[in-house]
């Protein structure tokens, strides 16, 4: 298994380069992943051979573009096991997907005095849309606490889940802690209380098998660029019965049925939500990315990341003055490692590691409430993906040691 993963790097031209005189070790995959040659080729081929606007044209190119765009939707539907393509809306990304749910579905179900339940491990894109909805509707935004090791506090969750809770919106996997939340179990609890469950899957879909029907999520959002696809394309899955109740968030071309002077009717699902010319090349690129992931197998990918984490974590633990955030038990996390070196600011860590060719992220990772919760102004974060190897993990450890040495002993 490890051998075949070692060969994947060859599929990613960008990884074959020298950064600051060192071979690039790319460990910022939670921010965005690199794209394999097949995805780059698919986007280029589309523009070379099939570019046209979708759904409207009668000519041959328009038909090609439409069938490739809609074919991509089917590939994505199958990947997440949605019941039908009508439930797979193509968006700009997770942020757009969550905004659509908050604005449109939130409009339907949330009333004054209701509660919206989220957690302290959410990304800003799963906080701010709900804040806005709560303000508009005079509803209350309630946060679930975390346990000491950074997992969702399920007791606190059950206490805060009440008859007032209309919407629960949780991340499937934390972008800072790598924690995997028990979405299926949570869906049961939410539905018992007649609430609706929205899931931010941006950090889950790229890293593990996701079956939206098995999870029983009412809505599920994710981004293409975090799973080898292009930027600017993402997905909102929603149950048909709920999508049917919702009004489109945007209006214009491509989404209308009939337009009269004073009123219009909408197309059927999923098109009623997709106003304007969509990101056709992005959708095609994402479908090819999905096929690339499917060839490897999502179980294998999850296993590969687990192996890398199990390999590197004991080495990290031996480093004095290194704090690692998130659960000790590696079964509850993906390939995301947030860490701080005592006495060295994460920004300085990221610059120093960059000089070693190792790309990590430093900052609050768009999760300021979580940083406040952890009592850290910021952390450094390494996030592994399919093309990372044990050699990358070794280089990561070496770069941390060199960074520590430079800042803490370099002065003597």
């Amino acid at each position: 298994m490890t051998d075949s993963f070692d060969r994947l790097k060859q599929d990613f031209p960008i990884l074959n380069q020298v950064i600051n005189d060192e071979p690039l070790v790319y460990l910022d995959n939670a921010a965005t992943t690199q794209k394999p040659q097949t995805v780059l080729d698919a986007v280029e081929t589309y523009y070379h051979t099939s570019n046209a606007n979708v759904h409207r044209g009668v000519h041959t190119l328009a038909e090609r573009a439409t069938s490739q765009y809609e074919g991509s939707r089917e590939v994505i539907r199958n990947f997440i096991n949605a019941a039908e393509t009508a439930e797979v809306l193509l968006t700009r990304g997770t942020t757009t997907s969550l905004n659509w749910v908050a604005r449109s579905f939130g409009e339907v179900v949330v009333e004054a005095g209701d509660e919206i339940l989220i957690s302290y491990m959410e990304h800003h894109s799963n906080i701010v849309p709900w804040q806005q909805l709560a303000k508009k509707k005079q509803a209350k935004l309630v946060y679930v606490e975390l346990t000491e090791d950074g997992q969702l506090d399920l007791d606190d969750f059950q206490n805060k889940l009440t008859d007032k809770t209309k919407i629960v919106s949780l991340t499937h996997v934390s972008n800072v802690l790598g924690v995997v939340n028990p979405i299926q179990q949570i869906a049961d609890w939410v539905h018992e209380k007649n609430g609706y469950l929205v899931v931010d899957g941006a950090q889950a879909v790229p890293h593990m098998p996701v079956d939206v029907q098995a999870l029983q999520a009412d809505f599920y959002a994710f981004s293409g660029h975090k799973m080898l696809g292009p930027t600017g394309i993402g997905v909102l899955y929603g149950k048909r019965a709920l999508l049917e109740q919702m009004e489109p968030v945007e209006f214009g071309g491509e989404m209308i049925d009939f337009v009269e002077e004073q009123d219009s009717t909408w197309k059927e699902l999923p098109w009623k939500f997709e106003a304007g010319t969509p990101n056709i090349a992005g959708a095609i690129g994402l479908a090819v990315a999905v096929q690339y992931l499917e060839r490897i197998g999502m179980e294998n990918i999850a296993q590969h990341e687990r192996e890398l984490i199990e390999y590197v974590m004991p080495k990290l633990k031996q480093i004095k003055g290194l704090t690692i955030f998130g659960p000790e038990d590696l079964r509850f996390r993906t390939g995301v490692i947030s860490f701080n070196i005592d006495g060295v600011h994460p920004h300085d860590v990221a610059t120093a590691m960059d000089m070693e060719g190792v790309a990590v992220r430093a900052g609050h990772h768009c999760a300021q409430p979580l940083m406040t919760y952890l009592n850290q102004p910021a952390t450094a974060r390494a996030s592994f993906y399919i093309y990372n190897t044990k050699a990358d993990a070794d280089k990561f450890v070496e770069a941390i040691l060199a960074t520590k040495e430079f800042f803490l002993n370099g002065l003597n």
């Binding site: 060295v344 994460p346 920004h347 070693e356 430093a362 300021q368 800042f407 370099g410 002065l411």
Partner: protein, 158 residues
């Protein structure tokens, strides 16, 4: 190894300023206080000025940040204390040029802050170096009116 390049950025003087910053704390008497954040990294800085007769009589800063932003704040206080408002603003403009790798007229006036010229080779870190100076500019522009504000990341670059 590649870390030797880090010496361009983190020279001994810079590390020394960040570890024992000058004028970190609060003033008993101040005419202007400002708090500035860098929302993308979580850095926050407070600058207090005591301006008398158009001159920066005293200055303190506090906050949390990386080596570069703390060292820069410390160096900034060295450079501007005792200076008239106009001169302090000019220094800020010069510093902004220095960290972008441009020539300046009077490098000596910046003192230790000139040591941060290496930041120009690390574009992602220019904002760290300019945070305290941008706070200073905001405070001086308001001439002792005591404005609290938040400045966005993008605005910190220029």
């Amino acid at each position: 190894m590649a870390l030797t390049k880090l010496d361009q950025l983190y020279r001994a003087v810079i590390l020394e300023h960040s570890q024992t910053p000058r004028r970190r704390g609060t003033l008993d008497e101040s005419t202007t206080q400002i708090e500035l954040r860098n929302p993308t990294c979580g850095d926050v800085i407070q600058v207090q000025l005591n301006i008398q007769d158009g001159v920066v009589k005293d200055v303190r800063f506090d906050g949390s940040g990386c080596t570069i932003s703390l060292a820069s704040a410390s160096m900034m206080t060295d450079a501007i204390i005792g200076k008239p408002i106009e001169e302090a603003l000019n220094l800020s403009k010069e510093f902004s040029q220095v960290v972008q790798g441009n020539e300046t007229e009077d490098q000596n006036a910046l003192g230790d802050a000139m040591m941060l010229s290496g930041v120009s080779k690390f574009p992602a870190r220019i904002k760290c170096a300019t945070l305290s100076w941008k706070a200073l500019e905001k405070a001086l522009a308001n001439q002792g009116t005591g404005v609290d504000g938040q400045m966005r990341h993008e605005e910190i670059t220029e």
